[in-house]
Every structure is written in C-alpha cells, then in structure tokens.
Assembly symmetry: C2
Homo-oligomer: 271 residues x 2
C-alpha cells in the first residue's frame, strides 16, 4: 500500500513541515520506497513534482521540503507498488484537465480486477489500478454533467456514488482535488486535523522537528491536513471510520458521506 | 516574445549544460522574465517543472540546472508575456494526455484574434493564445484520427496542415512532443544543432561554462538541441529559414516541411 498526504486551506500555505515528516516514510521510518509525488494548486494552475526514487533519498523531495510553495490544495503520495512497475508514468499524483481546470488524484489501496471501458476521453498512460480509477471517475463525471462544471453539491453527490461503486473492487483510500475542494476517502485508513486559532506548537512523529504555528499564521487561517497516519504526536487528530468520504473546502469539512451501507448517506457538518 | 529550448536524443541525456545557458536568458542575459518551465519525458511518463518567477532567479531553475534528469525528449520555455497574465496556469510548457500518452507544447510568438471553438475534449485552463493553440491542435488530431494513434508519417502530415492554418494568425514558433518525437516550427526564429561522434568541447554564450561532450557520451549517442538562438559560440548551429517545420526522432531530423507557400511541402532529409 501507499501513504497519502493532503492539505486544504483558506489561505495559501506551505506544506514544508508536514512534508518533512511524510518524506521520512518513504524509506526511513516506513518502507514505501517505490516513488513519490506532490501536486500544488496555485490559483487555476498546478505544479507537479514526481520522482520514481524513494522520497527519503530523492533530491527532488529534499528540494520540496526546504522550498516553501504556498498553495490552498496539495496532494502528496509515497508509493508501495501493488499494481504497475516503479516507473515515472505510474507515480502518483496523476493530473488531467476537465472543464478548464486541472484535477489531481492519488490512491492508497488496491482495486482487484478493475478493468473499466474507456471511451477515449481520459485514458491511463501507465498501468496502475489507481490511474484507471482516476480516468474512470473523470469520464463518468464528464458523461453525467457534460461540458459544464456542476455545483460542488452535485459534484459531491456524484463522486459519492462513484466512490461507492469503485470501493467494491477493493481498498480505495484516495485524495482528489480540482484546486477548489479536496475530497478524501477513508476506505481503510485515513486521519485528519484542522488547525485554526489559537495555533500551537506541533511536533512531528517521524523526525525530530517542531514548529510554532502561532508565529507563522494569522487568526483567520484555517488549514486541514489529511494523512494516512497522523504526522504529529502532540495534537489530536481525527481518525476516520472506514467508509467515510469527506469534502473539504477552505480548510473545513463541508460535507461528509458514508460509503458503507447504512441509513445515513449524506450529512452536513461544520468542523 | 519568449525563448524555446528543446532536446531530442536516441539515448536518455541530461540537459544541464544547455539549460545553464538558457536559464540566464530569463533575467540576466535577456529579459524574458515572466516565468519559465520545463518538461522531461522519461519513457511514457513526464515530469514538468513550472515557475512563474524569472528563470534567472528561480530556485526551481537552480535545482534543474544542477540535478541531471536523463530524458530523450525535453521542452523548456522562458516567457515574455504577450497574452495572459504572469500566472502559473499561463506558464509553458503545457501538458495534456491523448491516446494514452502525454503531450507537451511550448510556444514563442503571438497569435492575433485566435478564438477557436472547443468541443470540450481539450480546454485551456489559462488565457494564453499558446494554450489555445495546443488544445486546438490536440482536438483536431483527435477529430482526424479518432481514438487510436496514427503512424508518425500521418501525424506529421496532419500537424503540418495544422501549423499552416495556425501560422496565419501570427508568429508561431513552437515545440511539441509526445515523448517519441519532437516537432519544431520556425515561424520567425529557430536554430538547432545535432551533436554526434566525434564529440567536442562546447562553450556557452550566456555563461562562462564549457563541457567536453566526448567525456560524457558514447559513439552511438546522437542529440539534437533546438533553441530560439544558438546556445554555444564555438559550434556550427543550423539557423532555420522562417517557414520550416522539422520532425526530430532519435536525435535526427526525419522529415522537414515547408510552412510558407511554395512548391516543396514535404521533403525527407537525413541530417
């Protein structure tokens, strides 16, 4: 399996602190050594850094850890290959354009025997189940809504339906963003934390590094960080129940969906 | 206007030497200060580094200059904005997927009143004439050939036709690659050099840097470097005639098309 890291905020924020802990999981504190990648949304633009090398020993990752890129939506991934060789084209996150915006996707899991029919609109370049899932999601969104982007509510409902369908093929923890929102699915394992005033000192679990967020933030800042496992050991993270799909916007959870059978399929919360 | 740099080779090669000279043109030896970017093809995968900062003062460019990424097709661009703000989404090269491969494009020029109709398959994210031209090219290729990639010859002929059409809107120097070939159009200004055995020492024009290629190559290597202006001052570059479209593969020109009216529209050469 792999590890995911996401960030969704109401002001452009750098991810250097969280990435410092995350990077170590790709070959030092954990064994996810089959490449890594990160996508930063800045306005409508996107920057993607990929490396098929282990993140702990990647010069590109060293650069990202020390160069602050301010972004409102970030998706990072370190890979432990299940399907698809360790090649650049199989390195997450993947990026495509839809409705005049870039979309990015990273997956932790394993979809068995998932062989969807592609109509040519979005086609995988590599041979991972993950890129197939991403292309399938975009294809189905485009089929449903045509050439104009729908409301976030309509999009969330359709993505909920697609997540339910895809999760029947296996483990499907994922992060998806179009630069406006972040969708995070806990299929088996996912945690998150929302940092807002009053900000405190945070201490990484994977490296002997801490930060005083009160020195680098304003009272209005709100930052959601999402990760396979909590990145700090002195803060309270939400450990999500398997079968939870969370829609983050502006650093808050705006909608929460259930993806296991049950009576509640769509409930609004104000985290 | 902008500056272009491309590389097409028969073995994966790093572009650190050429990029060292090119980077200086984004704010030191020339005034193209509205961002820069570079795309590296590695197998079917692609790595894209973009920065809206001037390349001469960009930490990302400093990293690229010193970190050798071996690639058979590279496209780099430094921007002097004509249409579209200095924003990440307007920074070249652009990347899209077609026929299960990534395609990348960068443009030096200015297309006036170019407002094509987009059918939704490929849509610009930013607001440059360049990204419009790229999306239009992909849309027309997809309309012509459907969902399966044609032969390189058929593709070259169609791209020749599209280049002729687009060049009627204004200055249209460009580089286009799908990781297999590199198409280079000289609308007003473009030079190239093909380096092969016996390799020699090359001296940059824009920086006091030289390299002995014989120490870092084998006799089989063949590397085509394409640039708006020659990058070295002790080698013989081909200065292309305006109205020349060149198809490079494996470090050689495989087809040359004319894009100004005249009797010869398609001639094969072995450079």
């Amino acid at each position: 399996m792999c590890q995911l890291l996401g960030m969704n905020c109401n002001v452009p924020t750098d991810i250097c602190f969280s990435f410092t802990g995350f990077q170590a999981r790709g070959g030092i504190t954990d064994h996810h050594t089959d490449g890594w990648g990160i996508t930063f949304f800045e306005g409508k633009g996107v920057r993607q850094f990929l490396d098929p090398k282990p993140s702990a020993h990647s010069p590109v990752a060293d650069f990202i850890r020390t160069y602050p890129i301010k972004s409102t939506n970030v998706i990072a991934h370190i890979r432990k290959a299940t399907q698809g060789d360790t090649k650049l084209e199989n390195t997450h996150p993947f990026v495509r354009e839809m409705w005049g915006r870039y979309w990015s996707f990273a997956h932790n899991g394993d979809l068995k025997n998932f062989e969807p029919a592609f109509d040519g609109r979005y086609r995988p370049v590599g041979n991972t189940d993950s890129e197939k899932a991403f292309c399938f999601i975009l294809q189905e969104l485009q089929k449903t809504f045509g050439d104009e982007a729908p409301s976030m509510e309509a999009l969330g409902n359709k993505l909920h339906e697609l997540t339910l369908a895809l999760a029947t093929f296996g483990v499907f923890n994922f992060l998806l963003s179009n630069g406006e929102f972040m969708l995070a699915h806990c299929s088996t394992k996912l945690a998150s934390i929302i940092r807002k005033a009053p900000f405190n000192v945070a201490q990484l679990k994977d490296q002997d590094v801490k930060i005083d967020f009160s020195a680098v933030t304003t009272n209005k800042d709100q930052v959601a960080v999402i990760a396979t496992n909590p990145l700090t050991d002195n803060e309270v993270w939400s450990i999500h129940e398997p079968g939870t799909l969370l829609l983050f916007s502006e650093g808050a959870v705006v909608t929460q969906y259930k993806t296991v059978p049950g009576p509640i399929t769509n409930c609004i919360s104000n985290a």
